[in-house]
Amino acid sequence: MATKPELISSENPKGMTPVVKTVVRFAMGIVFMFGWYIIIYGHLTPGGGFAGGTILACGYVLLTLAFGKEVALAKMSDRAASIIDNSCAFLFVAVPLVGMAFGYFFLNFPPHGKPFDLVSAGVIPLYNILIGLKVTSSLFAIFLALSIFGRFVSKLVEEAEEEE
C-alpha cells in the first residue's frame, strides 16, 4: 500500500523534526530489507524468524515515532496486525500437522534440496517466515496497545481537568 506523500514529507507538522524524518526516509527501506534478509536466510546464516521479526517490528515502531501513528497504521492497522498474528500462529501448528499425515508430527516432509541453497532445508524457511511475520505483528500490536492505551488515559485526564 502506497503511503500518501504529504504524510511522510518533512513539512508535515506531525511527528519529529525534519532532520529525523529525512534520515528515517533513507533508513526505512534498509531496515525492512535487512529484516527480511535475516528471516529468509534464517536457515543458512545466524538469525532467523524471531531476530528478523524483531527488526521488522522496530521498523514499524521507527515509522510511528518519526511520522506519527497515521503512517504506521496505514502500513499495518491494529486489526491487520491481529489477523496476521493469529493466522501465522495457526499455520505454524498446521504445517507440523501436515507432517503428521506423512508419518510424524513436525516431520520435515518436502524435499530438502542442496545444502546452502536459498530454497533448501524443507519446511524450515517456511517456519522462519511464519515466525518472522508473527513476531513482527505481535510486537507491533503490543507497541500499539501500549501507546493507544496511553493516549486514551491522557485524554481522560484532560477531560477531567476541563471539568474542574
Binding site: 493469529n86 501448528v93 503428521m100 508430527f105
Partner: protein
C-alpha cells in the same frame, strides 16, 4: 488412526484451536463457544482412549531418541491426561453460560485453550526443556486468566502470581541448565541413565533443591504458597476450578513426581523433605482456611492443605528405606488423592461460581438457606464437601485412609496423627460452610433467586456422580488405571527403556 500416531494432538489441537478461534471470531463472535466445546470435547475423548493403550514413546519429527524430542505415554501420563482434559471439558461447558457476565469471551476461550496446551504438553513430554516451555505456556495463560476481570483486586493478585511464578520458572530453568551442563542431554529417559552413572553428587543435589523450590511454588507447597490464596479466588469460577483442580497438579506435583521418581530415583533426603513440606502444607493450609469468610478464598486454602496429602504420599513412596509394599501403598494413596482432589475441588469451585452467579456475593456469612432455592447446586456442593472432609463412602475417605494407614505402617506416627487431625479440621471447616451457605435462614433479598441454568448445573452433576462413583468403586479400581500410574512411577528401569522405543 491409532492413539500412537495421534499422540501429539494433545498439544497441537488446543493450540491450533486457540488461534483459529481468534481468527473466526473476527467474523462471527458466536463461533467461539462451539470451537472451544468441540476442541475440549475431542481432547477428553482422546484422553479416555489413551488409558487403553500400552505404554509407548513417540518421536517428534521422526528423530531418534537422545537427539530428538520424545513424547512418552505410560500409566501416569494417561491418568493425568484424563483428569486434565475431562475437567477442562466440563469447565468449558460451564463457561458457556457463566462467562456471559464477562466481556471478551473469545479471548477467554483462547487463553483457556492455551493453558490446556501447556498442561497437556507438560504431561505428555519426555524432554526436560519441553517441560519448561509448556510450563511457561500454561503459567502465562493462567496469569492473564487470573486478572481477566480487570478489577483492582484481580490485577493485584495476577501481578503477585506473575512475579512469584516467574521467579519459580527462572529457578527451574537454572536447574535444567545445571543438569544439561553436567550430562549433556535433556531427554528425560537418557538423563535418568546419566544420573544413574553420575550418582547424587553436590551439583545434582543443588538441582534437586532448585526443582523442589520451583515446582513446589507451582504446586503451592507451604513456604511457597503466598500467591495461591489471592490468585485462585480472583479468577472466574471455571478458571479457579482449572487452577485448583488441575493446574497445580499438572505443572507442579506431576512434574515433581516424574523428575524425582523416574529421573533422579528414590532418595531418602528428598523423601523426608517432601514429607515435611507436605505435612506443613496440610497444617498451615487448614488452619488458615477455617477463619476465611470468602467462599473461594477458603477453598483455595483447602487446596494447599489437600495438596499436602498428595505430597506426603509421594514423599513416602520415594523413601527407599521403607518396605517396598508400604512405599507403593503411600504412593498409591497420593495418586488416588490427587485424582479425588481434582474432582471435588473443581466441583466446589464451580458450585461457588453458581452461588455467586445468582446471589452476587462470595461472602459465606451473607448467604444462607440456599438449599431451598438452588437444590441441585446445593446438593452437589454438599456431596463435594463430604468428599473433601473424608466422610465414608465418598472418594476422599478412601484416599486419606490409604495414606494414613501407609504412614502408620511405615512407623511415621507423627505424620499419621497430623493427617488425622487435618482431616478433622477439614470436616469442621466444611460443616461450617454447609451451616452458613446451604442451611440456616434465607436472607430476604434472596427470596426470588432461581436455580442456575442447565449449562451450569450439568457439569456439577457429572462431577458429583464422579465423587460418589470413585468412592463406591474403590474395591474395584485397585487393579486398574491408578495402579498402572503407580507402577509407572516406581519402575525407573522401564522409563529409561523409552529411549529405545518410538
Amino acid at each position: 488412526m491409532t492413539m500412537q500416531t495421534t499422540y501429539p494432538l494433545f498439544t497441537a489441537l488446543p493450540l491450533a484451536a486457540a488461534f483459529f478461534n481468534l481468527l473466526v471470531t473476527k467474523i462471527n463472535k458466536k463461533a467461539a463457544d462451539y470451537i472451544a466445546f468441540l476442541a475440549a470435547g475431542t481432547l477428553a475423548v482422546l484422553a479416555v482412549l489413551t488409558v487403553f493403550e500400552q505404554p509407548f514413546a513417540y518421536r517428534v519429527g521422526g528423530f531418534p531418541a537422545p537427539w530428538g524430542i520424545l513424547l512418552v505415554s505410560d500409566g501416569l501420563s494417561s491418568l493425568m491426561l484424563v483428569i486434565v482434559n475431562v475437567i477442562a471439558f466440563l469447565s468449558i461447558i460451564y463457561s458457556i453460560k457463566y462467562m456471559t457476565t464477562y466481556t471478551a469471551k473469545p479471548k477467554y476461550y483462547s487463553l483457556f485453550l492455551l493453558m490446556l496446551t501447556g498442561m497437556n504438553g507438560v504431561v505428555i513430554t519426555g524432554d526436560l526443556f519441553n517441560i519448561y516451555v509448556f510450563l511457561e505456556i500454561a503459567s502465562i495463560a493462567s496469569y492473564a486468566l487470573v486478572g481477566f476481570g480487570c478489577e483492582h483486586e484481580e490485577l493485584e493478585a495476577s501481578f503477585k502470581y506473575l512475579i512469584l511464578g516467574s521467579v519459580a520458572s527462572t529457578v527451574i530453568l537454572f536447574g535444567i541448565a545445571f543438569l544439561y551442563s553436567m550430562t549433556g542431554t535433556l531427554n528425560m529417559p537418557d538423563l535418568a541413565r546419566q544420573i544413574e552413572i553420575l550418582g547424587i553428587n553436590k551439583a545434582v543435589a543443588f538441582v534437586i533443591a532448585m526443582f523442589i523450590m520451583g515446582f513446589g511454588l507451582k504446586a503451592s507447597t507451604v513456604p511457597f504458597h503466598a500467591w495461591l490464596p489471592d490468585a485462585h479466588p480472583s479468577a472466574p469460577a471455571p478458571i479457579s476450578a482449572m487452577l485448583s483442580g488441575v493446574l497445580i497438579k499438572a505443572i507442579g506435583v506431576y512434574a515433581i513426581a516424574r523428575i524425582m521418581f523416574n529421573v533422579i530415583g528414590p532418595n531418602e533426603a528428598v523423601s523426608s523433605i517432601l514429607m515435611f513440606l507436605g505435612a506443613l502444607s496440610m497444617v498451615v493450609g487448614v488452619f488458615l482456611a477455617v477463619g476465611q469468610s470468602d467462599f473461594k478464598r477458603m477453598l483455595a486454602y483447602h487446596s494447599i492443605s489437600q495438596m499436602g496429602y498428595v505430597t506426603l504420599g509421594l514423599g513416602l513412596g520415594l523413601n527407599p528405606n521403607v518396605p517396598p509394599a508400604i512405599a507403593a501403598m503411600g504412593l498409591f494413596g497420593g495418586i488416588y488423592h490427587m485424582v479425588n482432589h481434582a474432582v471435588f475441588k473443581s466441583l466446589l469451585f464451580l458450585c461457588s461460581g453458581s452461588f455467586e452467579y445468582r446471589t452476587g456475593t462470595r461472602n459465606r456469612y451473607e448467604m444462607g438457606g440456599l438449599i431451598r432455592k438452588m437444590p441441585v447446586t446445593s446438593v452437589t456442593c454438599s456431596i463435594a464437601s463430604l468428599s473433601i472432609s473424608g466422610v465414608p463412602p465418598f472418594n476422599g475417605f478412601w484416599s486419606k485412609l490409604i495414606i494414613i494407614v501407609a504412614l502408620i505402617q511405615a512407623s511415621y506416627y507423627v505424620y499419621g496423627a497430623i493427617a488425622v487431625l487435618v482431616a478433622f479440621m477439614t470436616l469442621l471447616s466444611f460443616i461450617k460452610l454447609q451451616r452458613f451457605v446451604l442451611f440456616g435462614q434465607l436472607p430476604a433479598r434472596f427470596a426470588n433467586i432461581k436455580e442456575a441454568p442447565f449449562g451450569m448445573t450439568f457439569p456439577l452433576v457429572v462431577l458429583a456422580v464422579l465423587c460418589i462413583g470413585l468412592g463406591l468403586a474403590y474395591p474395584f479400581i485397585d487393579q486398574s488405571v491408578l495402579q498402572a500410574a503407580r507402577d509407572a512411577l516406581l519402575d525407573k528401569l522401564s522409563y529409561m527403556g523409552y529411549i529405545l522405543g518410538g
